[in-house]
């Protein structure tokens, strides 16, 4: 049986394919109910562009905004050399360039597992910005890998993926790049990172990937 990122099929051979692997997602199931029951919501989909998601969201009468933060953050232009020879990530410039939504407020944010692919110094500010751009009552779905989920797939890199929405509590996962998994966070760390939100719902997948739905 294929795992979350198709790991069983690929781990041994190291091959990267574009096949889609279906995965149960309780978090998505929760947001799907809201998308079905309310009109004219604004959805922010953070990840590689999926025309399936555009179709799905707009067909329900909502608007969708797309951004791929992992890809944006992987560029060397954000790394600034310091006088002492070290380097730092230019967080402020990144936020201004990629998380300026021109005053738009979002009702649903699909962060997927992007958090694990962002530099640690950037993640906190990104989540704070997410909080700022969400409407009161807005909900965000985030996924976090765990050491167990990574090792089950042949650590350290489970593979950056595109998530396709479906009309059930499943999502289709498709490998979409070679960005390295930069971090894994404990539940306590996740709670601290998302401290400005309320209404935590944690879900643990069979693959040990943790899903969190938070409310602004």
């Amino acid at each position: 049986m294929p795992s979350f990122f198709g790991g069983k099929d690929r781990a041994g051979a190291g091959a990267v394919t574009n096949e889609r692997v279906s995965r149960h997602s309780s978090g998505w199931g929760q947001l799907l109910e809201r998308l079905r029951s309310e009109d004219s919501l604004r959805v922010l989909d953070i990840g590689p562009t999926s025309s399936t998601n555009i179709n799905f969201v707009t067909a329900l009468g909502h608007s969708i905004y797309l951004a791929n933060l992992a890809e944006d953050a992987a560029r060397r232009e954000w790394v600034v050399a310091q006088e002492d020879g070290s380097s730092r990530f230019d967080v402020e410039r990144f936020l201004a360039a990629h998380l300026n939504f021109s005053g738009r407020g979002f009702d649903v944010v699909l962060l997927w597992d992007t958090a694990d692919y962002l530099p640690e110094e950037l993640l906190g500010p990104v989540l704070e910005r997410m909080h700022e751009v969400m409407e009161p009552g807005g909900q965000m779905l985030a996924m976090f890998h765990s050491p167990a989920s990574a090792s089950a797939l042949g650590a350290p890199n489970p593979g950056f993926s595109r998530y396709h929405l479906t009309d059930t509590n499943k999502v289709d996962v498709q490998r979409a790049g070679d960005y390295p998994l930069l971090n894994t966070y404990s539940n306590r760390q996740i709670e601290k990172l998302l401290a400005s939100f309320s209404g935590f719902h944690f879900f643990l997948g069979k693959d040990n990937v943790r899903e969190v739905v938070v409310t602004r």
Partner: protein, 135 residues
Amino acid sequence: MKPAEGSTVIGRSVTIRGELSGKEDLYMDGTLEGTITLSGSRLTVGPNARLMADLNAQDVVVYGFVEGNIRATGRIELRESAVVKGDIAAERLSIEENASIKGQVELSEVTTVLSASRQPDAGLFGASAIAPTLA
């Protein structure tokens, strides 16, 4: 790729700053900063194009790079090499796999979706899609 016969062609070595407008089909493969407005016509953004511009046309096909908003009264097609940083508004939208959008997508009309024929994530709103009210 070749421009459609009858289109006005602006080649890859051309750089334009300003407003470009017209009433005939345009194949743009150069660099432009400004706006392009084509009334009732089709704009094709070639694979070598780099447009820092807002685009308005009946139909827009993108193979290259666009930083700006795209508005089409008909259909927008993003081919697999397309990179769009800006908002998209159209009646119908077709996206091939690996095309990239950063921005808002607004479709003014619900379309009927048929299965993609070329790739798993391709053409969901596009050539194979039927928009019943448009016929």
